[in-house]
Amino acid sequence: MSLKYESQIREPLVYGNKTYHQVTEDIVRPIEAKPTKLWYVGFYTAVALLLFGIYSVYREVVYGVGEWNLNKTVGWGWDITNFVWWVGIGHAGTLISAILLLFRQGWRTGVNRAAEAMTIFAVMCAGQFPIFHMGRVWMAFFVMPYPNTRGPLWVNFNSPLLWDVFAISTYFTVSLLFWYSGLLPDFATVRDRAKTKLRKLLYGVASFGWTGSTKHWQRHEALSLVLAGLSTPLVLSVHTIVSFDFATSVVPGWHTTIFPPYFVAGAIFSGFAMVQSLMVVVRKVFGLQDYVTIGHIEAMNKVIVLTGSIVGIAYLTELFMGWYSQSKYEGYTFWYSRANLFSPYGWSYWGMMACNVLSPQIFWWRKMRRNLFVTFFMSILVNVGMWFERFVIIVTSVYRDYLPSSWSVYYSPSIWEIGFYLGTFGLFFTCFFLFAKYFPTIAIAEIKHVLKTTGESYKENMGDYEKVSAEEFAHKYAH
């Protein structure tokens, strides 16, 4: 007899009177139905953006990095800002699927699949920026350490930029494996109820011949647990290493020891915001409100207010250290280039403060955490704020160098820099629209696993358990 008790005080994770079959029906329905008009509109908009992005990148490849408005001091402008922004967004998926798995947070089951998909697409977008920033992109393979005819001249293993190559490619691979191994049983579910030949063929290939054997499930569970255990330090390491790109330099504004935890918190913050933006829409469009409940939304909003406040502390610590260090350059960067609203980029600093630190405080109120409109609006605001943060870190630190003679003119992006950024939105949403249509957006097997413990209709019967005294209960059910 398996133990199926959870306190009634805890909110159900699955609403309604569901059976296992009903769960399958609800989640697979969007895959089997024809896409709606709205889906086509969204999908083609994304493809259009993608095409514009491809043209922008084409110009950059053919004419060189001169197509961008970078200058002598601002060598990392929008490009690296966008890179760090997308990588940050790509942290929520693995956080939800790995760290929350280790912490036994049941609510992860409703959102982990979509969040992991989002992670993978975000990392794909992020990867484009440093690759094309190289200028001569056809030599991008030079970053790989391999015996070559140039000496062999090896890459610099002591450089954070190379650590980044390893971190991001490992992160992408491991996330993809984690995501896909979780998808196998769900593809099998779609395959076994498929009516059309094409669907049988495609989902048959995709499910690798999964049968649901007990032994396979046992191995699958072991695999998920170990992959979660590996991904947890991995996800923390990735943004730590991204922060090293800055922190190991001697540029005032970058040369900061609090960068690793500050970047990781910021990554989780923006990642959860992106999950919110997507899930609020997906659950509505596909009618999955019973699975991605308002309780899920609230839980994620709690993470947002926590990480937003951590980021806020980091901003204040930086300001404090800018004064306390008594370093002229640090002071200039933090108190003039950033905190002074009337300095050239002061607007971006205060935009960041408003979006990341002040506005998320609204989530201290339960009513606000459970309000979909507030959640959606805030999730957009947080992502704008996190973009400002990366822009502030990069541009305000470098636009005025140690040497006033090389101070740059006001940096603003060219249309092709903006186009590249828009193009990654196109890539991201093209992938996400395809995912939402053709993949089970919620982990079916995992929902079934928790259904009889946390399903609303099953919880109503938990009262019988609660009448039993604790000792008697333990005696009867504990192993």
Partner: protein, 195 residues
């Protein structure tokens, strides 16, 4: 691979399944497998399956990643092409920790997934016999393998009495083969059935 005779019993409730597994095993039937739509905790123990050692494999893969990274970087930076970078020592271990860590994780994850696929015989275009299409939806499908001494109709009624909502006897291919799920190909004309 060969065709074998199986008795299939479908259950729709875990609370019925667990006592049934116990009864069937005590009665001496050989359970080939139980196919479930989600990982039912404790079912592996109830079936008497051994713990998987996939974790150990993961550890070994991880270790090989550590050794690969540490070994190659050491050889490259101390033997093959010692490079003076800002006066740092050639053997700059702290600076290599990130890459060593990443390769450990990469080797472990990739190795484990490949091992998992190998052990479970999972790959694109692999096809297996599915005893019930609802095994991935809402049924727990217990499959008994018939031996010389098994009376299949007796086994069927035994399963029904244990709470199975649907029973049947099937002759099916035991292993896997390359095939497509949209085609119902005949594997081979095998008249002889083991047991």
């Amino acid at each position: 691979m060969a065709k074998k005779k199986f008795v299939v019993g479908c259950f729709d409730d875990e609370d019925v399944l667990f006592p049934a597994v116990k009864k069937v095993r005590t009665a001496g039937y050989k359970i080939k497998d139980v196919y479930t739509p989600y990982p039912v905790h404790g079912l592996d123990h109830a079936l008497g399956l051994k713990e998987t050692s996939l974790h150990t494999a993961g550890f070994i893969y991880g270790l090989s990643g550590t050794i690969t990274a540490l070994g190659s970087i050491t050889w490259i930076f101390t033997k093959d092409w010692p490079l003076d970078i800002g006066g740092k020592p050639y053997f700059a271990l702290p600076a290599w920790i990130p890459i060593i860590f990443e390769l450990t994780v990469l080797f472990s994850a990739v190795g484990m997934v490949l091992t998992f696929c190998y052990l479970c015989q999972l790959a694109p275009f692999v096809k297996k016999h599915h005893f019930h299409p609802r095994a991935t939806d809402d049924l727990f499908v217990m499959v008994l393998e018939c031996t010389d001494s098994t009376n299949s109709s007796e086994a069927e009624s035994f399963l029904t009495n244990s709470g199975a909502i649907e029973v049947k006897t099937e002759i099916a291919e035991d292993g896997w083969w390359f095939g497509r799920y949209d085609k119902n190909e005949m594997l081979f004309e095998s008249k002889s059935v083991i047991a």
